[in-house]
Amino acid sequence: MKARVHVTLKNGVLDPQGKAIEHALVSLGFDGIDDVRQGKVIEFSLTESDPAKARANVEAMCEKLLANTVIENYAIELDA
């Protein structure tokens, strides 16, 4: 099973890198852009075949290491 974890900054947490990307896009002439937020994607394979167990396992990984829940949210995608 493949897991993909999206880690993004929580609403209300300033994202200076997102702002810099936004300014760069605007200066390149891309119009109508707002609220750029930068995050990260972490992908890995799991030997676990039970989706519920796999999700619980990946959630534990997010809480323990992959995300800092003081400032970040995470979303988990699982593909069989």
């Binding site: 209300g12 300033l14 200076p16 890198q17 810099a20 323990k64 290491l65 800092n68 003081v70 400032i71």
Partner: protein, 234 residues
């Protein structure tokens, strides 16, 4: 007084803080030198102070301090902190302390996205008899900073709690002690440069007092910090 400096792959202020402490211990009758403990060690001798030094542990992979916070030695550090052993985290060490949850909040990329490396002035916000024994509340002291991720963040409830419990140790300020937006080098909320845990036995700060603790380094403004600490723990 016995101290340990934890060394991680990528630490680069471990020797500086070892020397600053050793000199302070030499000026005090206690003498001796701090123990250097490798990150893979799961146990080390009983000490009165544990220092997590500055640097770029594990190459700052994932998030600054995140890997170090989960390294073998850190379980022991967390267990000893829970028993009341004094823990000091400087710069990367502060980032580790927030990542372990020993200190509240998080340290994010500097607001202007630039690495900042210069002397700043910080105000002693909460006087206490362990980490700021040689300072009075309100003192403004010169200390170098050198970081890319020192922008302190905590949510509004957490910040209010920190203020109420006097957990804000230092704030960035102008040379005259005024806490102004201009004196904030990295965008930290409420100019926060250092925080305590609830029992004030764990301190994390971004500035580096060990980098100004010998005349050869351009000043000894950081010496009272280490002298006070050694005095308090001896």
């Amino acid at each position: 007084m016995k101290a340990a400096v934890i060394v991680f792959p990528g630490s680069n202020c471990d020797r500086d803080v070892q020397v600053a402490l050793e000199q302070a211990m030499g000026r005090h009758a206690t003498g001796g030198e701090p123990l250097m403990v490798w990150h893979k060690d799961r146990y080390f001798d009983k000490v009165d102070l544990i220092v997590l030094p500055g640097g770029f542990s594990y190459g700052d992979y994932l998030r600054c301090g995140a890997m170090a916070a989960n390294s073998p030695v850190m379980k022991e550090v967390v267990a000893r902190a829970a028993k009341g052993v004094a823990v000091l985290g400087i710069c990367n060490g502060f980032q580790m302390l927030t990542e372990t949850g020993l200190l509240p909040g998080a340290l994010m990329r500097n607001a202007d996205l630039r690495f900042v490396c210069r002397d700043v002035t910080i105000k002693v916000e909460t006087g206490q008899n362990l980490f700021t024994a040689n300072y009075a509340q309100g003192d403004a002291i010169r200390v170098p900073v050198a970081h890319h991720d020192g922008n302190y963040f905590a949510d509004d409830d957490e910040l209010a709690g920190l203020e109420d419990r006097d957990q804000i140790a230092f704030r960035y300020c102008a040379p005259d002690g005024a806490v102004t937006p201009e004196a904030n080098p990295n965008g930290s909320q409420r100019n926060i440069a250092g925080v305590y845990n609830e029992t004030k036995t764990v301190l994390g700060l971004m500035p580096h007092p060990e980098r100004l603790a010998d005349p050869k380094l351009g000043g000894i403004d950081g010496r009272p910090f280490f002298d006070g600490l050694v005095e308090a723990l001896s």
